[in-house]
């Protein structure tokens, strides 16, 4: 796996060039003897180093670009990590929106630039592979490098998208919380929200100083009193002036008349809903029990049939026995016969 950065590959260009020089010399000396092949050889030998130099130049160009792109991706992912931290850290009141937006724009630009750079690199790699007479190792190396860079860029873009979605979700959550706080300030009678009430009711100067203590004392949920904002502010000092002896105190006004009515209606609606549920459950239970009752009925019918059959058997046997057997047996049969008749009578009563 190729590492990023300018020093991720070993630059053996110099070695290669020295080898080429050496070979040139050796080939040149070998070419002196055969003259027919000498020129072609020498030309080939000359072209070969040139080709090789050209190939080397192209390869180093490729490497330079690849390394630049890799470095750019690394920097972008660092910026993205910073953005993610900022987005996570954001709270209801202290939102670094401006910074986040700046950073988002910068990252977007970087990603688009890197994208185009990778595309260029890929084109270069393809052209290289088609044209030059370079080894298969080099081609596979360059294609691998390009693929690697593309994958990294895709990963960075995905992370960027995730961070953006997380930020929008956070913003939504904050909006909801803000609405909760501002509209339900009256329902909360606990201390943390006393601070928010001056914001929600917006009383002016004179009355606002008098308002916090009465709020803390006043019964929060049962006394839903009505605001008339300026009227309170004026009437309180005036009344106090006029009726100095009488103690008048403006009970804090938290919710409007309409709010309380709306809430009452909501309650009624939810109660009716619950009642519907209860009725449904009741119906289910009764239908199940009806099934059980049917089963009982069938059992009793079976019993009746069995006992009647037994009784008919006993009757025939009784008739037989009366002709043949002793009294004790016939007495037993008699009892059994009477009991079975009684059973039948009871069973018919029950099933009817």
């Amino acid at each position: 796996m190729m590492k990023l950065g300018p020093s991720s590959y070993r630059d053996r260009t110099q070695e290669f060039l020295s080898v080429v020089e050496r070979l040139k010399k050796s080939v040149a000396s070998a070419n002196n003897a055969p003259s027919s092949s000498g020129s072609s050889n020498s030309s080939r030998a000359v072209t070969k180093p040139e080709d090789r130099k050209f190939a080397v130049a192209i390869q180093s160009e490729f490497n330079k670009r690849a390394s630049k792109i890799g470095y750019g991706i690394h920097q972008t992912s660092q910026k993205l990590a910073k953005l993610a931290k900022l987005a996570k850290r954001t709270s209801v009141f202290d939102d670094p929106t401006f910074e986040i937006q700046e950073l988002t724009a910068v990252i977007k630009q970087d990603i688009t630039a890197l994208n185009s750079a990778v595309v260029d690199l890929q084109l270069l790699c393809n052209s290289q592979n088609e044209s030059g007479n370079i080894s298969s190792d080099t081609t596979s190396h360059s294609t691998t490098v390009v693929d690697n860079l593309k994958n990294r860029l895709m990963g960075t873009t995905k992370e960027f998208k995730e961070v953006l979605t997380m930020r929008t979700e956070n913003l939504k959550v904050h909006e909801n919380r803000r609405q909760l706080f501002s509209s339900n300030a009256s329902k909360e009678s606990t201390n943390p929200f006393v601070r928010q009430r001056p914001l929600a009711t917006r009383l002016d100067g004179g009355a606002s100083t008098a308002s916090p203590p009465p709020w803390a004392n006043g019964s929060a949920s049962s006394s839903r009193l009505f605001p008339s904002k300026q009227a309170d502010g004026e009437s309180l000092p005036l009344l106090q002036q006029q009726q100095g002896q009488q103690q008048q105190q403006m009970v804090p006004l938290q919710d409007s008349y309409m709010h309380s009515r709306a809430e009452a209606l909501h309650n009624v609606e939810s109660t009716i809903h619950e009642l519907g549920n209860i009725f449904t459950q009741l119906a289910t239970m009764v239908s199940q029990q009806g099934e059980i009752a049917i089963r009982i009925d069938e059992n009793m019918d079976d019993t009746l049939a069995n006992v009647e059959g037994a009784q008919s058997q006993l009757v025939s046997k009784h008739i037989n026995e009366n002709r043949v057997h002793s009294d004790s047996d016939s007495y037993n049969l008699d009892c059994a016969y009477k009991q079975s008749k009684l059973m039948i009578w009871h069973t018919t009563i029950v099933t009817a």
Binding site: S235, Q246, V286, M300, A310
Partner: protein, 199 residues
């Protein structure tokens, strides 16, 4: 939960003292000698609060142990003196009703009234008596109360249905046992019958 007084006033937008149009007071719980002073006092407080209530606004003022609720609609102001336990929403719906009733009965004649009108208005007295129970005035409250009662009844019903289910279960057990026993009886009778045919 008590209403002590209901008043209808005409409030002038220029801030002068309102003109009393109708009153209904229940001062029976005060001593005999205090009643007239209490009535005066109520009138006075009503005038003051009425002066301070801007048109189209509802307002509640806490005064000693009473709450005074006032609703000013286009210069016609209705006020109620209720105790602390009376639900505020019901009081305002009651005030609305009284206002509508007054406008139905007297039309616009009140606009020209200049002096306090002390003639009793029977509707107001009836209203005072009838609406001592806040549920009467506020339909929402009444509905909520009835729904809660219904819910309690339904809970009891479900409990009894569960008990019925248990009894039915035991009955089905017994009846299946009975049918098994009767089957045994039948087989037994058939068996004893068979041995006699030979004889």
């Amino acid at each position: 939960m008590k209403i002590t007084a209901l008043l209808v006033l005409k409030c002038n937008p220029d801030g002068s003292d309102p003109v009393v149009l109708a009153t209904a007071m229940d001062v029976s719980h005060f001593g005999y000698f205090q009643r007239s002073s209490v009535k005066e006092f109520i009138l006075f407080v009503a005038r003051t609060v009425g002066k301070r209530t801007p048109p189209g606004q509802r307002q509640s003022v806490q005064h000693e142990e009473y709450k005074v609720h006032s609703y000013n609609r286009n210069g016609l102001c209705v006020m109620g003196f209720m105790d602390d336990h009376y639900p505020v929403r019901s009081s305002f719906s009651l005030l609305n009703q009284v206002l509508d009733e007054y406008q139905k009965n007297f039309g616009e004649s009140w606009r020209t009234a200049q002096a306090d009108n002390m003639q009793p208005w029977p509707y107001l007295n009836e209203a005072l008596n009838k609406y001592q129970d806040p549920a009467e005035a506020d339909k929402l409250l009444k509905i909520q109360r009835e729904l809660d009662e219904t819910k309690i009844i339904l809970h009891k019903t479900i409990d009894s249905v569960l008990a019925r289910g248990e009894k039915l279960d035991s009955l089905v057990e017994k009846s299946s046992d009975l049918s098994a026993a009767s089957q045994m009886f039948y087989k037994q009778a058939k068996k004893t019958n068979q041995c006699c045919t030979i004889l």
